[in-house]
């Protein structure tokens, strides 16, 4: 059994312009101790799909199934979900400044997270908080400092310390390095690589995926289009969208090959395969029928061209 098994996940928002389907059928598994990379462009549903599992998106209609260690997360009572979130599943967000409370010291914020979930004394919680800060490379004496006294990279370390506070089995990192500079980004990736628990990294940066992920899921317009082991994805990208993404990246002086057009509106997604309006290799079947995940089990992709392979 996998640590996390998600199947048929759908997330819908009601808007004045009609229903917006941000996530339209996502299935994936995360094994204990493994890193899953979820990559896609803005609006692909990569963040929404993971946050919805944890009940972090109020006002959204969430359907499907998500088994965490055998327990169904979708539809779980809020109080029960809260006991899992933070204790067994940690979260790291893109912008640490808006995720930390500006008026409490970082040590207090970490200690508080521990006190909510564990029956320990305040002193014990503080000593765990200091220990966690040391583990992420922040001297324990700085536990009494406030978020504004830290740089962007240090704040992200605080977020990681907080996510690790209760030894969760799974940490979800949503664009953990996007707001950081290159040299600081390298520090944070190195730290994330040492965590040891299962990790879901959500990013638009294929470089992060190439560095960190064991398994990769590529998303487009609210759906996975390709899943593969990291090396297989970069060596043998199968879906035209994945190929387009990789070709868009500069490689020396070769002319870039962008994907023409732009992502569709999710208020009225295209018929058939949602990538077909931008796809350079579409066939007559693409605008009519939506391709399921096809191809080998360890490297499936949602493209009709798989049928002829």
């Amino acid at each position: 059994m996998s640590l996390l098994e998600v199947s048929g996940l759908r997330v819908t928002f009601s808007t004045p312009d009609g229903d917006l389907q941000a996530v339209r059928g996502v299935s994936f598994e995360v094994e204990a101790g493994q890193t899953l990379g979820v990559v896609g462009e803005s609006g692909s549903g990569k963040s929404v799909s993971v946050q919805a599992l944890l009940g972090l998106i109020p006002g959204a209609r969430v359907e499907g199934s998500a088994l965490f260690d055998g327990e169904q997360l979708i539809g779980m009572p809020a109080e029960k979900l809260r006991r899992i979130r933070g204790a067994r599943i940690g979260m790291i967000f893109q912008d640490p400044l808006s995720s930390l409370h500006p008026m409490y010291s970082v040590g207090r914020q970490i200690a508080e997270a521990i006190l909510v979930h564990r029956k320990v004394s305040k002193d014990q919680a503080w000593s765990v908080a200091r220990e966690r800060l040391e583990q992420v490379g922040i001297p324990a004496v700085r536990a009494r400092d406030y978020p504004h006294q830290f740089s962007g990279g240090m704040r992200q370390r605080v977020m990681i310390a907080m996510a690790m506070a209760l030894d969760p089995e799974l940490i979800i990192a949503d664009e953990p390095t996007t707001a950081l500079d290159a040299t600081v980004r390298a520090q944070i990736l190195e730290l994330l690589g040492r965590l040891g628990c299962a990790l879901i990294i959500i990013t638009h940066d294929l470089g992060v995926i190439a560095d960190m992920a064991d398994q990769v899921m590529v998303m487009y317009a609210g759906k996975p289009v390709e899943k593969a082991e990291r090396r297989a994805l970069f060596r043998d990208p199968r879906h035209p969208y994945t190929r387009g993404l990789l070709n868009s990246l500069p490689k020396g002086k070769e002319r870039l090959q962008p994907i023409e057009g732009r992502p569709p509106s999710l208020l009225s997604p295209p018929t058939g395969c949602s990538f077909h309006p931008r796809c350079p290799v579409r066939i007559p079947r693409c605008p009519i029928e939506e391709p399921p995940m096809l191809g080998p089990d360890d490297h499936p992709d949602a493209c009709w061209l798989e049928v002829g392979r």
Partner: protein
């Protein structure tokens, strides 16, 4: 003569305190003694992390900031022939004005042509950057990020400038859209004979577009060289660390990132001697007292103990 000459330019921003009699309590040394030249027809890339002064330098070049000291000489009329493309395609277009009138702004300001000739010119510009000229009367909100950046480019080109300073022109865009805009900038350069100063933190994009690349750290240029030379044979330890930390979509790349300690120090009170010494794996006594000058010919670097060709910067840990 070069198209643009920047010589020993400094830009300090005062930090003031007090309510009635504001006195200066410190200065942000945003750009601190930068000299470089831009030749006609080339693309000069400028890379560096946030706070290194690359955007301030761009604003000095275009005349948006007055320099504190030093000289910038441009072979032509700075207000006409130097234009700028900004990073944020959402913040740099007035949401309440129509695209056509936004693009026509430079023409109006410089009293070019008549209303009807301006309209024709704007339609031509829109076609040039790949926008549908029929969308002349639309508002910015009706366009996607990539299209808005095209509007920004059309506006910059309205007066047939000679130099276009692009400040992070693609950083706010998705990967697949980035490539469209970068290709457009390349094509326009070939077609119109433009000169670019291209500022970005994405090293691979800079490598792709630039003929020469300057690396900035805390208000100073630490290394400047022809693009391939810089990427293949970096001499300054900071350049080497930056290159090793760059995001590369290659799962087989050896994970021997040089992990630099700490963050970029504050530009309010930059470190003594070489500004990189507190983070530099190669720093020695001399680096803390004596500031290295930018030296060399063609490939210049500012370091007392540069990396020898082929030397690898000592990394603190080797992955995998």
């Amino acid at each position: 003569m070069s198209l643009l000459d920047v010589s020993d330019v400094r830009k300090y921003f005062p930090i003031k305190s007090g309510i009635f009699f504001q006195r200066e309590v410190g200065r942000v040394h945003a750009v601190d003694g930068v000299s470089l030249s831009v030749e006609a027809g080339e693309t000069l890339g400028v890379v560096g992390e946030s706070g290194c002064g690359k955007s301030t330098l761009a604003r000095c070049m275009t005349g948006l900031h007055e320099v504190t000291s030093g000289n910038i000489t441009f072979d032509g009329d700075v207000r006409r022939d130097v234009q700028m493309v900004f990073q944020d395609p959402y913040g740099s277009l007035n949401p309440r004005r129509r695209i056509g009138s936004i693009i026509a702004d430079p023409l109006v300001i410089h009293r070019e042509g008549t209303p009807s000739s301006r309209r024709d010119r704007v339609r031509d510009l829109m076609a040039l950057v790949g926008l549908n000229p029929e969308h002349y009367n639309r508002f910015p909100a009706e366009f996607s990020g990539g299209q808005r950046q095209r509007v920004g480019i059309a506006r910059a080109l309205a007066l047939n400038p000679r130099l276009v300073v692009c400040d992070e022109p693609v950083s706010a865009l998705d990967v697949s859209i980035q490539a469209q805009v970068v290709n457009l900038l390349k094509d326009l350069q070939a077609e119109l004979g433009l000169t670019y100063v291209f500022i970005a933190h994405d090293l691979s994009v800079v490598r792709y577009v630039s003929d020469r690349v300057a690396v900035m750290y805390l208000g100073k240029i630490v290394e400047i060289a022809p693009g391939e030379e810089l990427y293949e044979r970096p001499r300054h330890p900071y350049t080497a660390a930056l290159l090793s930390a760059a995001s590369v979509a290659d799962p087989d790349r050896p994970r021997d990132r040089v992990i630099l300690r700490g963050d970029v120090p504050s530009p309010i009170s930059p470190p003594s001697g070489c500004r990189f010494h507190p983070r530099c794996p190669k720093a020695q006594e001399r680096c803390t007292v004596e500031e290295p000058r930018l030296m060399g010919d063609g490939h210049k670097w500012a370091c007392h103990f540069p990396l020898e060709p082929g030397e690898r910067l000592q990394s603190r840990e080797v992955g995998e």
